[in-house]
């Protein structure tokens, strides 16, 4: 029998607010344990949460970017469970009344576009971290992360393959990073994904029993885990067995999923409205104000680049991979007026240099103005394409302007016809044998003369000018 996978994803994205969601502590990653804490996020007796409005705004940005409906009123709820990284014994989350619902995003897969529904987006606080000392058995609790704001983005069970799942995740990731509300770092846990997956006989409607997959900390692992789980469930079903509703952990090294807890062991979180917080009211004017701050999103930008700059879809994809890169490219275009040439240089040398050094475009030593200037100098014939390669390398190394580099290195192309005519005449005079061959019809010798002229001018002569003059002079016009 053929089975169809039904997949839904839950993404937790850490928000880039300066302060935590319910207290004023810093959200910075990597500080000494328990230094970014206060009585509120330590869950001390009698302290109370106060909602950070920035978190609501960041949530609204994501909701608007993913076509969600923003509800006028939402509530916080307590999710109750015991764990040492959860100092209050409950997580403040949202349950019965989410702030945003009924959204969607479009993903592209093998040239096909597909819309994947977003059930809801809600705000919540992150938990802390446990550190275990295996040598002197002891556990330590670091509560720096406690209270760092998260949004949870829950998809509809619209996803039908592991590739679709990763395509969806990449899109979400890209949007979050574009909105500058999440740094998207999967290793540090700023972007985390859990998956619900079940199989059903192809062509049927009813959902099969699902498992929940956790512990997949890269796009690749999400794909591998889903592929594995699809095969595993298929094997169980084909053997006449039943899939057990349970939570399974992905084991990256072994490449398999392990059962973590069954449905019977599942927590009863005893959600109820948090009496310490008042309902969040989001009025239309607030939504409008946030809407105005939204940047152009990756997909729109891609389409605009293709349309406005007449560059291939592939190039537009590369150039819009991040907002900073797209901004860089557009600045070069604005200053040079040469979208296609600009795209060649950015996608070519600039990205190659950066990739070699594992640097971000924001750290690129070549200023967009310098690159644009270089493009102008090539077009004006001041430097040759070959010289430009040398110039761009030097710009990347030193951050200097192309003009400064050209001056320093004496790279100016010889465009003075008189001087060049003199040089060519000398070259022809020294190579009478080749001249005879050329005149005898051996046109290949032309290349030899070009080489000799280049050599004599140490590569500084304008190649087009060499060509034109050589042709005339070899033909004996002068």
């Amino acid at each position: 029998m053929e089975y169809e996978p039904v997949i839904g994803l839950e993404v937790h994205a850490q928000l880039l607010t300066d302060a935590k969601i319910f207290c004023g502590c810093s959200t910075k990653f990597g500080a000494a344990p328990n230094t970014h804490t206060c009585p509120v996020c330590l869950g001390m007796p009698g302290v109370l949460p106060v909602l950070n409005k920035k978190v609501v705004e960041f949530m609204m940005k994501m909701a608007l970017a993913t076509n969600c409906r923003i509800n006028r009123e939402c509530n916080f709820a307590r999710k109750n469970y015991f764990y040492p990284d959860l100092p209050k014994g409950y997580q403040i989350s949202q349950y019965a009344s989410p702030p945003a619902e009924h959204g969607w995003i479009e993903v592209e897969l093998n040239g096909w576009k597909k819309r994947i529904g977003i059930t809801r987006i809600h705000m919540e606080e992150d938990a802390g971290k446990l550190l275990h000392d295996e040598i002197n058995p002891a556990s330590y609790v670091d509560l720096n992360r406690t209270g760092v704001p998260l949004i949870e983005i829950v998809s509809e069970p619209d996803i039908r393959s592991a590739e679709e799942a990763t395509a969806y995740l990449r899109r979400l990731h890209e949007i979050l990073v574009y909105l500058e509300i999440c740094d998207g770092n999967m290793e540090e846990g700023s972007f985390r994904c859990d998956a619900n997956i079940s199989l059903r006989p192809a062509g049927t409607e009813a959902f099969g029993t699902r498992t929940e997959l956790k512990n997949m900390n890269s796009f690749r692992n999400v794909q591998r885990a889903l592929e594995y789980e699809i095969k595993r469930q298929q094997y169980v079903l084909e053997g006449g067995g039943q899939v057990i509703q349970e939570t399974r952990l992905w084991d990256d090294t072994a490449g398999v999923t392990h059962s973590m807890r069954s449905k019977e062991d599942a927590h009863d979180y005893r959600y109820f409205p948090d009496p310490d917080l008042v309902p969040v009211v989001i009025v239309a004017a607030w939504i409008d104000a946030v809407q105005k701050t939204l940047p152009e999103l990756p997909l729109e930008k891609r389409e605009r680049f293709v349309r406005a700059y007449q560059i291939p879809v592939y190039d537009a994809g590369v150039l819009t991979a991040s907002r900073a890169l797209a901004d860089y490219y557009e600045e070069v275009v604005r200053l040079s007026g040469q979208p296609k040439i600009a795209s060649n240089w950015v996608m070519g040398d600039v990205l190659r240099f950066l990739n070699e050094d594992k640097r971000d475009i924001r750290e690129c030593p070549i200023a967009p103005a310098s690159l644009a200037e270089m493009i102008r100098l090539i077009r004006e014939g001041t430097i040759s394409g070959k010289m430009a390669k040398e110039v761009s390398e030097e710009m990347y190394r030193t951050g200097k302007t192309p003009e400064a580099i050209i001056k320093e290195k004496g790279l100016v192309q010889i465009t003075d016809e008189g001087a060049l005519t003199k040089t060519i005449a000398e070259v022809i005079g020294k190579n009478s044998e080749q001249l005879a061959q050329y005149r005898g019809g051996k046109e290949k010798v032309f290349g030899f003369f070009v080489g000799q002229v280049m050599k004599a001018t140490r590569g500084k002569a304008n190649p087009q000018l060499i060509n034109d003059l050589l042709k005339k002079m070899l033909a004996g016009d002068k």
């Binding site: 009585p39 001390m44 007796p45 302290v47 109370l48 949460p49 014994g89 005893r270 959600y271 008042v278």
Partner: protein
């Protein structure tokens, strides 16, 4: 008269005139504590040294002409308010060693007003009780009869004011925990509107019901303390940015023509005849002051106790989850694993009543039971609130007994939680509706135990309550007795 017997406003007159000093007042209070605390046991922690130092500072300020709203007045705090650097137990073993690194907002306000803090008073563990018998630190005794309970959960604060072991005190009221002990100890106790006083730093029992209020010797002192503690707090999301009037302006203004609602559901079987007689006398007194009494109905009164004992334990079960032995407070020894640490810590750290309520609350929130209990209780709570809204369309204040009986004997109800829960039958509704209430002494039983009458008003009508209580105090002319200790 000894200084410890005087009210805040009487002492302030003397301080202003230079007739006494805060040091003398504070010494008088601690002298009284030395004499009677062994019998009353109102305090968990005494703060003698810091109090004497604060008194010195207060005297310095007074000499410089910088007298604040409470400069030099010794007040006691229920041990549920976090006090920076001073152990705060909430009456529980599980917080036996907890020293907060912060002050509750109310405590900061008291300090800023120049008050002298005498110590932390005894209470039912986590404010769960009506007799102060569930405290890990022993029973507080009623100064009027040491064989009897002072009421609860703020029994220590009520007893301390009644016994002269402080000039005034603060407590918290979740279902009557200020008003009931105030009635049973013969003092004035007010529970303000939910949101009127910041709960920041008040150790939570039931967050949607908890409210902070004063215990005083008379209504004027109540107004003085409300002026200090009321107001919006940016650290407390449920505190309300409603303007705070000068509550003293409401004193002595009379209640001519006021309409007083007498809810018929509050005068039913179970109320002690002596209590009922004293409350009926109070009704005549307010009529004597020119008010018109009328019967009103609060039809959902019968559901109050049931709703309360779902909502409060449900919130408590979550609020008390943080006491897990991980970060602070008591932790059991020799645990093999995490689960055992949780179990042993919480089993040994909490007393029986607290555990009972955690279990009730956990059950009420469990999947499959939530709709039948918590959701239903929340809905009925809405109806109870509406009862009051409707009643206050026809009357200005509501008058009821504070407690169905005067102080009962120690141990009398400890084995019968349901009987204990009924002690709050007249006070719980105000917490569920979020409205303010005040208990004022209205007489004595034949055996000399104090009786209280409760006045209720609409949201943020504390001024009206003070005006009404002040008029009652003037016209009822209740004999001012003092407990014999």
């Amino acid at each position: 008269m000894e200084l410890y017997e005087l009210s805040i406003h009487e002492l302030q007159d003397k301080l202003r005139e230079g007739e006494t000093t805060s040091a003398e007042i504070t010494a008088s209070v601690f002298g009284r504590i030395d004499a009677v605390e062994k019998d009353v046991r109102a305090y968990i922690t005494l703060m003698r040294e810091t109090a004497l130092a604060e008194a010195e500072r207060a005297d310095l300020a007074i000499r410089k002409g910088e007298m604040g709203a409470l400069t030099g007045i010794p007040v006691a705090l229920k041990d549920i308010f976090c006090t920076k650097g001073v152990r705060t137990t909430c009456g529980s073993r599980i917080l036996n060693n907890f020293i907060p690194p912060y002050d509750a907002t109310v405590v900061s306000k008291l300090r800023a007003a120049g008050a002298v803090c005498t110590g932390k008073t005894n209470m039912d563990e986590f404010a769960m009780g009506s007799s102060t018998e569930t405290s890990f630190f022993g029973v507080t005794r009623n100064p009027w009869d040491l064989e009897r309970i002072p009421g609860g959960s703020s029994g220590g604060s009520a007893a301390a004011v009644a016994a002269g072991e402080c000039i005034a005190a603060f407590g918290s009221d979740t279902g009557g925990s200020i008003r009931q002990p105030a009635a049973l100890c013969g003092v004035v106790g007010m529970k303000p509107t939910y949101g009127r006083v910041s709960r920041f730093g008040l150790i939570a029992f039931a967050s949607s019901l908890d409210q902070i209020g004063p215990f005083t010797k008379d209504v004027e002192d109540c107004a003085i303390l409300m002026n200090v503690i009321a107001g919006y707090d940016p650290r407390e999301s449920t505190s309300v940015p409603e303007a705070v009037p000068d509550y003293r302006r409401f004193l002595g203004r009379g209640i001519e023509g006021w309409r007083v609602g007498i809810p018929k559901e509050y005068f039913v079987a179970g109320i002690d005849p002596e209590v009922e007689a004293a409350v009926r006398q109070a009704i005549r007194a307010v009529e004597g002051a020119g008010a018109k009494c009328m019967e009103v109905s609060l039809p959902h009164t019968d559901y109050c106790v049931a709703v309360y004992y779902v909502v409060a334990p449900a919130e408590a079960s979550s609020n008390l989850a943080r006491y897990d032995g991980v970060k602070y407070g008591f932790r059991s020894e020799g645990n093999r694993d995490l689960l055992e640490m949780y179990k042993k810590t919480r089993s040994a750290g909490f007393g029986a009543e607290v555990k009972r309520r955690i279990m009730i609350g956990t059950y009420a929130l469990s999947s499959g039971y939530y709709d039948a209990y918590y959701r239903k209780a929340s809905q009925v709570r809405g109806l109870i609130k509406r009862d009051f809204d409707e009643a206050f369309m026809t009357c200005d204040v509501i008058l009821t007994p504070t407690s169905p009986t005067a102080a009962f004997r120690i141990g009398e109800k400890t084995d019968d939680p349901l009987q204990m829960y009924l002690s709050d039958i007249f006070t719980i509704s105000a917490n569920l509706a979020g409205i303010p209430g005040i208990s004022v002494p209205c007489g004595y039983t034949e055996s000399g135990l104090p009786i209280g009458v409760q006045f209720l008003a609409g949201h943020f009508q504390e001024g009206r309550l003070i005006q009404f209580a002040s008029a009652f105090e003037t016209h009822a002319k209740i004999e001012r007795r003092r407990p014999r200790l």
